[in-house]
């Protein structure tokens, strides 16, 4: 521990990644989970240059999930996968039921609507609406980043935040119109 303190207090100040207090806090957290050798991987040690002229531990390294600082970029990315698969295995079944009921006849459709416009049905429908808009908005973010744009910290953070904000707004607008015009 003393060894590590010495390392973080003076040795790592040359590196722009390690020099921040925020990063040092990660090192502290890392040390709670691991030994000195692991903590050393999270900070640069001047003088220990690798052959390519880079620090022995080029930043940023990704520590274990449990000690990684949660940031909105990572959360929106995980949410993209979760919402996508929820849509694929949940909303699609709801959609199929609606469509097949309409093709089956008035009784089947009425039964679908009695469930879908009940409180649980509305909850599910509003939930899937948000799930769709969230996947759509973070998907647009992915399409933009696929073109190589929006990787600087401010833009990246803004787009991630915008994806969450837009999905909530779009859900509220959509259901506001449905509730005010469809008489549910």
């Amino acid at each position: 521990m003393r060894q590590y303190r010495a390392l973080t207090s003076d040795a790592s100040r040359d590196c722009q990644w390690c020099a921040t207090d925020e990063w040092l806090r990660h090192c502290d957290e890392a040390l709670e989970y691991a030994d000195f050798e692991r903590a050393k991987r999270f900070i640069c040690i001047p003088g220990e240059e690798a052959m390519a002229g880079r620090p022995t531990s080029p930043r940023p390294l990704s520590p274990h999930l449990s000690i990684w600082k949660w940031q909105i970029h990572a959360i929106v990315s995980m949410t993209h996968r979760i919402t996508g698969n929820a849509l694929a295995m949940g909303a699609v079944l709801f959609f199929l039921w609606w469509l097949v009921a309409a093709a089956t006849g008035p009784e089947a459709y009425l039964f679908f609507m009695s469930i879908a416009t009940g409180w649980l049905g509305k909850l599910i429908a509003i939930g899937f609406t948000w799930t769709f808009f969230q996947h759509m908005c973070s998907g647009i973010r992915h399409l933009i980043m696929d073109t190589g744009q929006g990787f600087d910290l401010v833009t990246s953070k803004t787009m991630a935040f915008a994806a969450f904000a837009a999905s909530v707004v779009l859900t509220i607008v959509t259901w506001g119109i449905i509730f005010s015009t469809k008489g549910f």
Binding site: L99, A102, A103, H142, L143, D146, T181
Partner: protein, 126 residues
């Protein structure tokens, strides 16, 4: 390991060589999903009512039935590609093979049921 020539063994290794195609189709279907899903939600919200007659009358029109069939194709294609990534990342061994088979059956059966439903309404049999 293995038999045959060095070149023959090397050719049998490595990636399946269709990763870029998978990646690209995921993006292509994402764009068509975006356009068609926004059309779908906009159309449903604009309908005077969501009862049986309003919905089936709407779906009888070619301008609704054709985009609906395209929507079904692109959504099911996109989800087939997306869930594959989930299975590849989290499911391993023979379970993954079973998972992929189940995903393929789910995709084809779901899309077929949805397209049939649209056609039945649009062609006036419902």
């Amino acid at each position: 390991m293995g038999t045959g020539t060095d070149l023959g063994r090397v050719r049998g290794l490595g990636s399946a060589k269709d990763g870029v195609h998978h990646w690209w189709l995921q993006r292509v279907t994402a764009v068509s999903n975006l356009v068609l899903m926004l059309w779908f939600i906009f159309s449903l919200v604009r309908l005077p009512s969501l009862d049986y007659s309003s919905v089936t009358l709407w779906l009888r029109q070619p301008v609704a039935a054709v985009p609906m069939i395209l929507l079904i194709a692109t959504v099911f294609w996109h989800l087939r590609l997306g869930v594959q990534v989930l299975l590849e990342d989290y499911v391993h061994g023979s379970t993954r093979v079973v998972g992929m088979l189940a995903l393929n059956f789910y995709t084809v059966a779901g899309a077929a049921a949805a397209v049939f439903a649209v056609l039945k309404i649009a062609l006036g049999a419902a």
